[in-house]
Symmetry: C3
């Protein structure tokens, strides 16, 4: 983790344009605000390009995708590529239906993501590696690094596969992250918020390996910090202190 | 209450497809995750059938219905009927507008719900019994068991009317549930989350009377348990411990 | 602040129809329920008029506007004007894109709002006063009273500009409100919920200056009350006690 990346984000408060799912919008916005970014969530295709034009980063998350959302995602994604701002793709449940699979293929044909982040089942699906999934969850077991490396190479991007151990692969190398907490699996949108924070970290001037590792490492530390709070007795009481923890300094989280 | 139903749900973690309203998606997903189910919320008509095909149960809730949502609900509902998985219909605010009334009629014409769950005003409206409502709330007074029995008989389903006392009627018999807590009336989506948990309970192999009674009884106990927490001073501080309580064992809730 | 306005709202529990953004729906509904109103959130154009017909007040918030939402807003707004119930317009991020600017112009051409509430950047944009904005946030500095007065005069409405100091201008006079807390800037939808509570306060029979001042004054006191709670360590842990505080008596909040 590179704490100066966190500091840079907080000095800049990057405007992150979210084309994300309806389940997690509130949680994502509060989490990114706590972390130090400025969320905006606009979904009309009529303003997709304009909003991307003023943003510092773009997150595309297909969790509750509709055909109209897809149009807006592609318009915003192309504009973001043109402007040179980071784009993160979170292909939620891509393996679950043909509609999602086709939509993600179309996005990847027209938009070049800076990073693709998902669970093993989602990223395996993008490179045709068989993997067991159930709805938006990943159940399979196998070589996650192979998946991440394949996604990075095939889509010329950085792949982030979250799980007990997070695997990050750029085209050149792979890294592991070991922070995190199992309670995150019980909080809807935990992965979606990570994608938002990752997008914010990608807006700094640092090497992408450090940006990605900082985002996932910090996020995991914040989860562990919150989970250790005496007021936490389950996933319900975890959420509020977790949002708080996202606003802390890296040093405060490392100290635990 | 039959605690083995809760245990069965948690062993199976049934995938529940939600076509639900935008107000309650996050709360519902977190609540169902805590209880032991696996929520998926997809709304595009393009994937409605596919998502129902991989699901263990389907919840249809018309709280923020649009014409496009309705198409998706009917496609998913028909697929669920065809597959034989449980379908719960939550006709939120059905009496409030002609659009909702017509939409629910259309759903009930094309989809056979395993259970219909709502407040007295909503279910009274389905069987043309006069009842005072206001927006999505029920204000009337009268014989709720008549309403529940009429709905069960007319739609060949199990009717669940929530209120101070919950009334459950199958075609054969009626039962009452006396757990619950008045604070639930101040939490948006409290009824919607109950529908989600009910759908999860309907995925086990037990008799439907036991499944429904277990869902509403457990839900009410969890509410009372959370409301008794020293950290709860109102509906705001109730929500997090309530989510936690939904993850407890029935025995832990009965003990209070 | 006029405490009888709060009491009147709680006796009446006005039904407030929300055409609001998807990010804040849950938070808004829980906040308004705690305060003493009855939220309904319907977005289909097919029922916009019907829902406005049974409502006591209407809130239009363009935070995640789509073209279809706009149609529903105008239908509901016209019906509300015809019925004589209060309409509040919250032009979220109106300066950010041409789509939003055009949409708000169209709303203001067809619907007469009782009050327009936003930050300085949003309201400045409505009267062509230059002001720095970033997405949905206001960054500029200058004479906020000029902005509020101009909006009030140009649109024959009451303008409410929120900020460190809130400025309220009717066509005749301007007032300041000094309650509030900086943590609200870190909570997504804090302004949106205020608009909802403002709409509820506008449903009483009191002078509009008192209604508006009571809404913003009470809201700020509730925020300060919650922020002073020993369990609050950041924006995450602030939210639940804030919802609770919205249900308190004005006297309980003044006492702090």
């Amino acid at each position: 983790m590179n704490p100066t990346i966190i500091k840079s984000v907080r000095e800049k408060t990057p405007l992150i344009h979210h084309l994300t799912n309806q389940v997690v919008m509130n949680f994502t916005a509060n989490g990114l605000l706590a972390f130090g970014g400025a969320p905006v969530m606009a979904k009309a295709e009529e303003e997709a390009k304009d909003m991307a034009s003023i943003a510092d980063g773009l997150l595309i998350n297909i969790g509750t995708l509709t055909a109209k959302d897809l149009d807006a995602m592609i318009l915003a994604g192309k504009k973001a590529n043109e402007k040179g701002i980071p784009v993160v793709l979170d292909p939620v449940g891509v393996a679950a239906t043909t509609f999602r699979t086709t939509a993600v293929k179309q996005i990847l044909k027209e938009v070049k993501p800076t990073a693709i982040k998902g669970n093993a089942g989602e990223l395996a699906h993008l490179v045709d590696i068989p993997w067991q999934t159930k709805g938006v969850e990943s159940l399979g077991e196998g070589n996650v690094e192979d998946i991440a490396r394949s996604v990075a190479l095939e889509y010329k991007t950085t792949a982030v596969v979250t799980g007990k151990i997070d695997i990050i692969c750029t085209g050149k190398s792979c890294m592991e992250n070991h922070t995190g907490h199992p309670i995150l699996a019980k909080v809807t949108g935990a992965g979606c918020l990570l994608s938002s924070i990752l997008t914010a970290c990608l807006t700094t001037d640092d090497p992408i390996e450090e940006q990605v590792l900082t985002a996932v490492h910090f996020y995991g530390l914040a989860a562990s910090h919150a989970a250790a709070s005496p007021s936490v007795n389950g996933s319900g009481t975890f959420i509020a202190p977790f949002i708080d923890a996202l606003s802390l300094e890296p040093e405060q989280l490392e100290g635990k």
